[in-house]
């Protein structure tokens, strides 16, 4: 199985999360899976500017020429993508959110009905499962965890996949 890890920890003391991700990575590699990790803070990544060139000028390809292409390629060819982030002000990091926004080229602009709701059409035949590992902040409570999990599930639904697990540490 191919696994992609998107490590969305910004600069700061997030050692507990780093250790968890490293142990997860080692566990998966020991099980015989290949793991590719992207340390987002060390990459050249711009915010999505909403140009939608990826939908109507160069279908499937982001117009911003930075490090996103390697992430898009890894994500769409993986079987599982693990998103990892500390919780900051009640939600996953802006660094990780920046990359979530940039995954839009992976779906099609056309709309279809899914579970009686409008959602985007698939661009690819197969999508990886999603997982989230999030580091709690001091005031994180059960409701925060529920909100983050629910939004992550919605995000997965819109990227044509499902959530394998959500872990709060």
């Amino acid at each position: 199985m191919k696994i992609t890890i998107l490590n969305g920890s910004p600069n700061g003391d997030y050692n507990t999360l780093t250790e968890r991700i490293q142990s997860l990575k080692m566990q998966k590699e020991n099980e015989g899976h290949s793991v590719e990790e992207f340390n987002l803070k060390e990459m050249d990544l711009a915010f999505c500017n909403g140009c939608w060139a990826c939908w109507w000028k160069s279908p499937g390809i982001c117009a911003i020429k930075d490090d996103i292409e390697s992430i898009l390629r890894s994500v769409i060819n993986a079987d599982l993508v693990i998103f990892s982030s500390p919780i900051i002000k009640g939600f996953t990091s802006s660094l990780l959110k920046k990359v979530c926004d940039r995954l839009i080229p992976l779906v099609h602009p056309y709309i279809e009905l899914v579970e009686n709701e409008c959602h985007h059409l698939k661009r690819y035949d197969k999508y990886p499962d999603f997982a989230l590992v999030a580091l709690k902040e001091e005031d994180t409570d059960k409701e925060d965890e529920e909100i983050i999990s629910d939004i992550f599930k919605r995000f997965a639904l819109n990227i044509k996949t499902k959530v394998e697990f959500v872990e709060f540490i």
Binding site: G50, S93, K97, P109, N116, E117, I147, F155
Partner: protein, 220 residues
């Protein structure tokens, strides 16, 4: 009265968020003493200036489009940068979340987060508008969008008077929250005759990209 508005659309001053808030302003500024100050969160090099404006404001609206089921990354970054030790007075914070999907339900998940965020930012929650069906609003004929633009103007007028959103207008803007059975049947019919994706096809053809619309560029 002064209202401080942060526009969280990556498209900035040309965005649908700006278009909607301009209609809100028409109502809000019917009283000539009222003023709206705009700050654009897509101007990353102006983050310090934007933060200062937030610290000084008493009444704030943050408006943004739904991006992958929550706020755009630029909005989350702004939220993370807010330092609550930099101001004393508790602010009133309202939100407007608009999306391209027809149903407002898509925005209901982030709405829950935004309400819970308020005390974390030393603010009181002052209401939220969730509005679907906004994509392409600026190229639609006036008659098609007049209910929406008029509602935003009314919303602004009410806000100027009561310093909060009118619940009835908010409720109406939220419709449809879910697609009715009739709408779903209509969408299926429209899809079968190729009307659902008219807007996208028009843009694809304008850019000579229609033939490549199903490309899968990143498959190994």
């Amino acid at each position: 009265m002064k209202l401080t508005v942060f526009i969280g659309s990556p498209r900035g001053s040309k965005s649908n968020s700006t278009f909607l808030i301009n209609h809100f302003e028409t109502g809000f500024c019917k009283n000539n003493n009222n003023i709206i100050e705009y700050f654009y969160l897509n101007k990353i090099n102006k983050t310090e200036e934007n933060l200062e404006a937030f610290y000084k404001a008493d009444n704030v609206i943050i408006i943004f489009p739904l991006y992958t089921d929550s706020m755009p990354g630029i909005v989350k970054e702004f939220i993370e940068r807010i330092d609550t030790t930099k101001f004393e007075t508790v602010k009133k914070l309202s939100y407007i979340v608009q999306s391209g999907f027809p149903e407002a339900k898509h925005s209901s998940y982030i709405a829950r987060y935004l309400e819970k965020l308020c005390p974390r930012l030393k603010c009181t929650f002052n209401g939220i508008v969730t509005k679907g069906e906004i994509e392409g609003i600026q190229i639609k004929p006036t008659w098609m969008i007049k209910n929406t633009t008029f509602a935003f103007t009314e919303l602004g007028e009410y806000y100027a008077e009561k310093l909060t959103f009118n619940h009835e207008i908010v409720k109406n803007l939220q419709k449809p929250y879910r697609l009715s059975k009739g709408t779903r049947v209509m969408l299926r019919i429209m899809k079968s005759i190729g009307l659902t994706n008219f807007y996208w096809n028009m843009k694809l053809k304008e850019n000579n990209a229609y033939e490549k619309r199903f490309d899968k560029p990143y498959i190994n």
